[in-house]
Amino acid sequence: MIRIEEYAPVVGQATLDELFLLSKRLEGKSIQNINSTAVGGGVAEILARMIPLLKQLGVNARWDVIKGDEKFFSTTKKFHNGLHGVPVEITDDEYAQFLEVNRENAAEMEFADIVFVHDPQPIGLIEKRKEIGRNWLWRCHIDFSRPDPKIWKFLEQYITLYDTAVFSAPAFARKLPIRQVLISPSIDPLSDKNKELPEDFVNSVFERFGIDRSRPIVTQISRFDYLKDPVGVIKAYKIARKRMDLQLVLAGGGATDDPEGPIIMEQVKQEADKDKDIFVLFLPPASDLEINALQRGSTVVLQKSLREGFGLTVSEALWKSKPTIASAVGGIPLQIAHKYSGILTHSIEGTAYWIKQLINEPEYATRLGVNGREHIKNNFLITRHIKDYLLLFLSLFHENDIVYLE
């Protein structure tokens, strides 16, 4: 288990001291996180890292998972798709069963002083509030910028019963009668995906895939998914390639549950054609060290997404001081200030233009990378995430804009 003190060399002792100062103010309060899965997915991943660290800070935090049958999870999957803009039909019976499962879970659960509910699956637990009171927080981890109106209307009646709703990006905020707070996700600098790696290991990964580190390398790490625009990445590479020596790495997992996956793969293969300088790498799920190495060994990192929930791969690249070019979508503009800590683009041509600029001007590119790492250090590491959660809990008990915690 990672000890909280291990973050001191990364973020500074003063940052940890502030976390201890805050957590002291939560003495006597119990905090319960509730979501719908113990393993898999970003929410479970962050809770698994966060809860032990909160406990080490002296916070009485715990994590419970709701139970549901196949029908329940089929309905919540429809919620998820509908909130992301996929047309879905949810029947009255499905809505009713969704609420029933929430009620069954609520009947069995012991609730803490602060109930912190993650995502739509357990949102109906709030009905219990009438009976038991307590403080209730709802955290939305998904893209909420253009939700299906019917699903939104259904969820809204429950969201508004909470004290506070938490979103990951400003665009996800709605007009609501309750307080809304911005808490961005984070990366863990001590995880396999982000920790420092020996140069020999980085070299060995590139050698294994036959990529030449003595020549410029542009890399995008992401699922082979239409929204990550791998075909657009290849087109941008081809434009830049006309004027310079270049290799392109597209690496990520295959989207096996995505019906569009094979079509995208076919398009990627066609677009990559027989170009020996394009490396399309399908990585198995446990490839965090390889991803880390590929990012560290690249000259420039791309994230040319058409849409993003948050786009934490950008933080991962910037944390490694990599000059990064990414689309101005979702949470990416929070991570990159254009021309200060990276480059934001809106088109294939713009991406190609900046690939050429950054490879031809390594000093400027290095400066972007250095600033990028500093920005991530201050704003997107797990310690900042913990600070935001502690403030979120404390804000339940303090109304004013300026709070003096004596």
Binding site: L21, L22, P170, V181, A337, D401, Y404
Partner: protein, 213 residues
């Protein structure tokens, strides 16, 4: 002799659920949002990018220049001399004045692309006592080297404009100690043109100079 209690501060970002898609919408928002929102958008960059020099401009100027591509208005907003203001009310009035006057001379409103609207936010600030309490200038100097940049930020920026104390906390304390020369020297610094670490160094040099005199 009075003592100096170092505080630190941590901010929570509040989403107001209000957005603008052109300069007119931005002006409407600026008129109605809480003071803490004006403070947030004129200081967020400074806090989040405190290591950069030159600083990126405030959120309003950045959005106008980079999203609306209005270099003229962007420059006018980014060059507002924030250090001269003693209250958010005055700063808000200046922002309103500049945008309103620009809109009068503009025929066509530029709309932001979908998804790149300006989202109004605000901050809720939690101020906490640190264990650092200076009883004299020498202790102050030692402690100023150890406190977090959040502490420095609180005593220099928040104290003057957000808490409307008229001047930064350091100058106020130096004055109480009868060191008005040092108080004035720190007051005359333009903190908006330094990185926070750069600012810390400048103040330490001043304190050393006045302490030995």
């Amino acid at each position: 002799m009075s003592e100096f209690q170092f505080y630190t501060k941590l901010d929570q970002t509040i989403l107001l659920g209000l957005k603008a898609k052109n300069a007119a919408g931005l002006l409407e928002g600026i008129k109605t949002v809480p003071k803490s929102s004006i403070y947030y958008h004129t200081h967020r960059f400074l806090h989040q990018h405190h290591y950069l020099s030159p600083e990126p401009p405030n959120d309003f100027a950045y959005w106008i220049s980079e999203v609306l591509n209005d270099a003229v208005l962007g420059e006018k907003i980014s060059s507002i001399d924030v250090v001269q203001f003693h209250s958010i009310t005055d700063l808000r009035a200046r922002l309103e004045e500049i945008i309103a006057s620009h809109l009068e001379s503009t025929e066509k409103l530029v709309e932001s692309p979908q998804g790149e609207e300006f989202h109004f936010m605000a901050s809720k600030t939690f101020a906490l006592r640190t264990p650092y309490i200076a009883h004299n200038i020498s202790e102050f100097r030692d402690m100023l080297q150890q406190v977090s940049v959040n502490s420095l930020y609180y005593h220099i920026f928040d104290a003057k404009l957000r808490l409307e104390r008229g001047e930064n906390d350091f100058s106020r304390w130096f004055r109480d100690l009868g060191k008005s020369g040092l108080a004035d020297a720190v007051l005359q610094l333009d903190p908006y043109t330094h990185t926070l670490e750069g600012l810390r160094k400048r103040i330490l040099v001043m304190v050393k100079k006045y302490d030995t005199n």
